[in-house]
Symmetry: D2
Subunit: 97 residues, 4 copies
Amino acid sequence: MRKVVAEVKIIPMGEVSVSKYIKRAIEIFKKYNLKVSPSAMGTVLEGDIDEILKAYKEAHTEILNYVDRVVSFLEIDERRDKENTIERKLKAIQVGD
Amino acid sequence: MRKVVAEVKIIPMGEVSVSKYIKRAIEIFKKYNLKVSPSAMGTVLEGDIDEILKAYKEAHTEILNYVDRVVSFLEIDERRDKENTIERKLKAIQVGD
Amino acid sequence: MRKVVAEVKIIPMGEVSVSKYIKRAIEIFKKYNLKVSPSAMGTVLEGDIDEILKAYKEAHTEILNYVDRVVSFLEIDERRDKENTIERKLKAIQVGD
Amino acid sequence: MRKVVAEVKIIPMGEVSVSKYIKRAIEIFKKYNLKVSPSAMGTVLEGDIDEILKAYKEAHTEILNYVDRVVSFLEIDERRDKENTIERKLKAIQVGD
């Protein structure tokens, strides 16, 4: 297992209000063995890189069932020198620490 | 004033551990009249588009004082049909609603 | 003048075919003192960082005249150790060199 | 086969000059059945979505052999209403047409 932190953004083209699609994508992410942390600009995921690639592909594919075009973004942050988790990353940037 | 929701990611090239730079960027964002919401993969900002452009440029420029190269990302989400806020966006994607 | 290389992506929400908006954005970029190099996934720009910020804001704002929501992306690559140009970057990655 | 157009960006953390790693990633992409079109800000790929996911994972993983941390980006543009190719996308945005 290679634990990574990632962010997914999915844009259903042709729609202005996209929250129902984002909710569907988050439901899909939650079926996987991942930490799922939605932000206002994407969904942060933590877990095995292969699980994340599968979850990303499934969510992208699912949204393409509802619209004619999907543009999606996956960002992966992986490091070998220390464990990479959402919690550690947030702790490290706490201003005032 | 044109209120937008944005995300900034700043990557100081040449460094593996970047949290001290991210903390510095967040300090800069907080000097502006913006809502500042750090995530594990970037910093979400809410406020006037011009304030955000200025804050982004200042943070990018500041980090370039410490390293020889900076790669940074700004994403802006602006809509005319309804007010765009971090709070509204997060509410809209609450799974189970 | 601070010369940088950048990439802009502009997504007019609510539209499936977006090329006419992208063409409009490229027209705007060309009014500025920038090198403009469209790719299939965005537009690469080279020039002064302030020109690029202005061109990006004008293109984003212009597309918002046609649709109710725009999501746009700006990436800036700036370095102090050597001159950063599109030409140098492309030369440096030529496979087989 | 689901043909998509994609863009990959790979950032080897801890390095300022990254072209040798980008060259290595491009070599990997070329082993796959993909069109590979490097730009100054990333590499545009065209081909089957599964090939692209595999090529992206292999390139990300390979670069992590040389550095302690990799941040990488994959963007996928997939549409059902018409064939999506690099050539068609570039043709559609030709200013002056």
